[in-house]
C-alpha cells in the first residue's frame, strides 16, 4: 500500500507546476509559521494549505499530517506547561518535583505550547502536501547543482525506503503462509533478513551507479523538463504571501505576547492578513480553471 505522503500526480493546476514554483508556494506557508505566533494568522496559513491540498487531491496527505501534528502538539503543550514557569494565571500547582524542581502550570504556558504546536502543524501540513504533489525527482534535481552527493543520497532514499517497506510486507506474507505448524518467526529475525536484503540491494545500486558513470559528475541538462504551465502563477502567489507576511511583520501586525498574560493582536490589519493568505493561496487555483475550460472548448 502506498504511503499517503508518496508522490502521486496531483489533480488540478498543481499538476502543471514546476518543482521550484511549488516549493516557493508551499514554502511561503512555512515562512508564515516561522514568522508569526498569532493564532489568526496561523489559521489563515492552515486554511491556505488546506485549500491547496484539497485542490490537488492530497486530502489523505493532509489528514496524515494533521493526525501526527496533533499528536505531537499534545506533547508540545504538555512539555511546555511543565517546563515554562512563567505566566500569571496559575491553574495548577504541582509543588516540588524531584529533579525538575518547582512546577506550576499556567494558562499562558499552555497557550504558548499550543501556539508552538500550531506552527509545527502548519510546517508538517505544508511538507506533507509538497511531498504528495511534487515529484521528488524534480525536487531533488533542484538540489543537484548545490549539493550533488546529498541529492543523490536523498534520491536513493526516496526509492529504497518504500522498497524496504514492500520487502517487509512480502516477508511477513511469506511467514504467514508457512502454515500453523511452522515455528514462529520473531521480529528480530525479520529485521535481520530485511537489513541483509537491503545491504545486498545497496551493493547492486552502487555497482549500477558506477556502470552508468555517476562518478564522472552531473549529467547535462538535456533531460531537464520545461517549467509547468502554471508555474508562474503559483510562484507569484508564494512570493506574494512571503512579501505581505514580511511587510506585516515589519509593521508589527499580528503581534502576540504570551507572558506575563496572553495578548493577541486581533486588529483589522491582522484580520486582513489572516484572510489574505488563503485568498492568495487560492488565487492560482481559481485563475487556472477558466484556462482549462477554454482549452477543452
Amino acid at each position: 500500500m502506498r504511503s499517503p505522503l508518496a508522490y502521486r500526480r496531483p489533480s488540478g493546476p498543481l499538476a502543471d507546476v514546476g518543482a521550484l514554483a511549488a516549493t516557493a508556494y508551499f514554502g511561503s506557508f512555512a515562512l508564515i509559521a516561522a514568522t508569526f505566533a498569532n493564532p489568526m494568522v496561523l489559521a489563515g496559513a492552515a486554511g491556505g494549505i488546506v485549500v491547496a491540498g484539497m485542490a490537488a487531491g492530497a486530502g489523505r496527505a493532509l489528514a496524515v499530517a494533521v493526525r501526527y501534528g496533533l499528536a505531537l502538539g499534545v506533547v508540545f503543550v504538555a512539555v511546555n506547561a511543565i517546563a515554562s514557569q512563567r505566566g500569571e494565571t496559575i491553574l495548577l500547582r504541582l509543588g516540588e518535583v524531584p529533579v525538575l524542581g518547582r512546577i506550576d502550570v499556567s494558562a499562558e504556558a499552555i497557550c504558548e505550547g499550543a501556539i508552538l504546536a500550531g506552527r509545527v502543524l502548519i510546517v508538517m501540513m505544508a511538507c506533507a502536501v509538497l511531498s504528495a504533489t511534487v515529484d521528488p525527482d524534480r525536487l531533488l534535481r533542484l538540489l543537484r547543482p548545490v549539493a550533488r552527493r546529498s541529492a543523490l543520497t536523498a534520491s536513493l532514499i526516496t526509492r529504497l525506503v518504500p522498497l524496504a517497506a514492500r520487502d517487509y510486507a512480502r516477508l511477513s506474507e511469506a511467514v504467514a503462509l508457512r502454515g500453523p505448524a511452522a515455528a514462529p518467526v520473531g521480529r528480530p529475525a525479520m529485521v535481520r533478513r530485511l537489513v541483509a536484503g537491503s545491504l545486498d540491494r545497496a551493493v547492486d545500486v552502487a555497482a549500477t551507479l558506477e556502470l552508468r558513470g555517476y562518478a564522472r559528475g552531473a549529467p547535462g541538462r538535456s533531460g531537464a523538463r520545461p517549467p509547468g504551465r502554471h508555474s508562474a502563477s503559483f510562484a507569484a502567489a508564494g512570493l506574494a504571501i512571503c512579501a505581505i507576511a514580511l511587510l506585516a511583520a515589519l509593521r508589527g501586525v499580528g503581534g502576540t505576547e504570551v507572558y506575563p498574560g496572553v495578548r493577541i493582536d486581533a486588529g483589522a490589519a491582522t484580520l486582513a492578513l489572516a484572510v489574505a493568505i488563503p485568498l492568495l493561496a487560492a488565487a492560482p487555483l481559481l485563475l487556472a480553471r477558466p484556462a482549462r475550460r477554454e482549452a477543452r472548448a
Binding site: 500569571e88 491553574l91 518547582r102
Partner: protein
C-alpha cells in the same frame, strides 16, 4: 486482593508527591515584595516595582515578568534580558543578570525562588569577568539582617564589638530603628561558642581581619565579593575602592570606613562595619541607613564623602 502494605506504600508515595499541590495560585503571604532592577553594580536604576501579598505560586521570575519586559533561557528558568538589556560578551568582557534575595545572591534560577511578602529582590546587570560571585550585598538594607520574610526561620543577629562599645551602641540603635533586634557579644569570643547567627562585626580593620569571614577580603574581591581593600601603610591602614575589574579605582585613604557583607560558604552572611581607625568606623556607622546603602554592593566612607564599591566609571556617586 491488594495487600494492605502495598496500599499503604502507594498512599505514602501519593501523599509525598502531591504535597504542595493544588489548584489556582494558592494562599497569599501578607506584605509587599519589592523588585529593583539596576545595571553596572547598582549605578543605574532601571525598574522599581512591588508585588502586594504574593501568592504561593509567585516566584521571582513571575514577579519580574509582571513588571518588566524579559526574555529567558534554559527552559525559562534563567533571565537572559530585562528591558532589552541582554547578557553576553561585550568587548571581551562577560556581562549577565544576577539577582539577590534579601541581600543574598541566589544560587538557583529565578523560577525556583518563591516570592514572599517583605522580600527585597534586587536584579543587577554587571561585568563578571574578574569577579564571578558576590555572595552578599548591603544594597537591600536592612536586609540581610531584617529577614522580614523569614517568619519562624529567622536567624538571630549578633553584633560583635571589636573596639569602642559606644560605636556598637550606635550600631544597635540604627538596627533597632530598622526593626532589627540584635544581641551583643565581644568580638572573638562569640565566634567560637555562639550558635549560628548573622554577625555584624564592628571595629577597626586591624582587629576584624582576625575573623575568618572578614579575612576573605585580604584574598581579593574574587574570593570575598567585596570591591575594596585595606592596605597597611607605614603609619596605619588605608582603604582603597576597586573597580569592576578588581583594580584600584579610588583611594579613600585614612580615617575611612567600610560597610560590606561577606559570606563564608553556606554560613549566614556577615556584615562588616570596619574602619582604618576608630574615626573611620564611626563615619561608617553614620551612613548605616537604607537611603545611603540602597543599590550598593558595599559602601566606603572617607573624609570626602561616600564612595560605592565597586566604583563604576560614569556611575552615580
Amino acid at each position: 486482593m491488594i495487600p494492605a502494605r502495598l496500599l499503604a506504600a502507594v498512599a505514602t508515595v501519593f501523599a509525598v508527591v502531591t504535597a504542595g499541590c493544588g489548584f489556582g495560585p494558592g494562599d497569599s503571604s501578607e506584605g509587599e515584595a519589592t523588585i529593583r532592577v539596576t545595571r553596572d553594580y547598582g549605578s543605574q536604576s532601571m525598574v522599581e516595582a512591588s508585588v502586594s501579598d504574593p501568592t504561593e505560586s509567585d516566584t521571582v521570575i513571575r514577579g519580574l515578568d509582571s513588571e518588566a519586559d524579559i526574555t529567558t533561557r534554559y527552559g525559562g528558568g534563567f533571565v537572559q534580558s530585562i528591558e532589552g538589556l541582554a547578557g553576553g560578551i561585550e568587548g571581551g568582557r562577560s556581562f549577565d543578570w544576577f539577582f539577590y534575595v534579601n541581600g543574598i545572591e541566589s544560587p538557583i534560577g529565578a523560577a525556583d525562588v518563591p516570592l514572599h511578602g517583605g522580600d527585597r529582590i534586587w536584579w543587577d546587570y554587571h561585568d563578571w569577568s574578574d569577579v564571578m560571585r558576590v555572595p552578599a550585598v548591603v544594597g537591600s538594607w536592612p536586609e540581610p539582617l531584617a529577614q522580614l520574610s523569614a517568619g519562624e526561620d529567622r536567624v538571630p543577629v549578633r553584633v560583635e564589638c571589636a573596639d569602642r562599645e559606644s560605636t556598637c551602641d550606635d550600631v544597635l540603635e540604627q538596627l533597632a530603628t530598622e526593626g532589627v533586634a540584635a544581641g551583643v557579644k565581644d568580638f572573638g569570643r562569640a565566634q567560637q561558642t555562639g550558635p549560628e547567627a548573622m554577625r555584624v562585626l564592628v571595629g577597626t580593620w586591624a582587629r576584624l581581619r582576625a575573623d575568618g569571614a572578614a579575612a576573605q577580603m585580604e584574598r581579593g574581591p574574587a574570593q570575598s565579593g567585596v570591591f575594596a581593600s585595606f592596605k597597611h601603610t607605614g603609619s596605619g591602614w588605608s582603604l582603597t575602592v576597586l573597580g569592576p575589574d578588581a583594580e584600584p579605582a579610588a583611594r579613600v585613604g585614612r580615617h575611612a570606613g567600610l560597610i560590606a557583607a561577606v559570606r563564608e560558604g553556606e554560613e549566614p552572611p556577615t556584615v562588616l562595619i570596619a574602619g582604618t581607625d576608630e574615626a573611620g568606623v564611626e563615619s561608617a556607622v553614620e551612613v548605616l541607613e537604607p537611603a545611603e546603602l540602597r543599590d550598593r554592593y558595599a559602601l566606603a566612607v572617607g573624609p570626602d564623602g561616600a564612595v560605592p564599591a565597586p566604583l563604576v566609571e560614569g556611575g552615580s556617586p
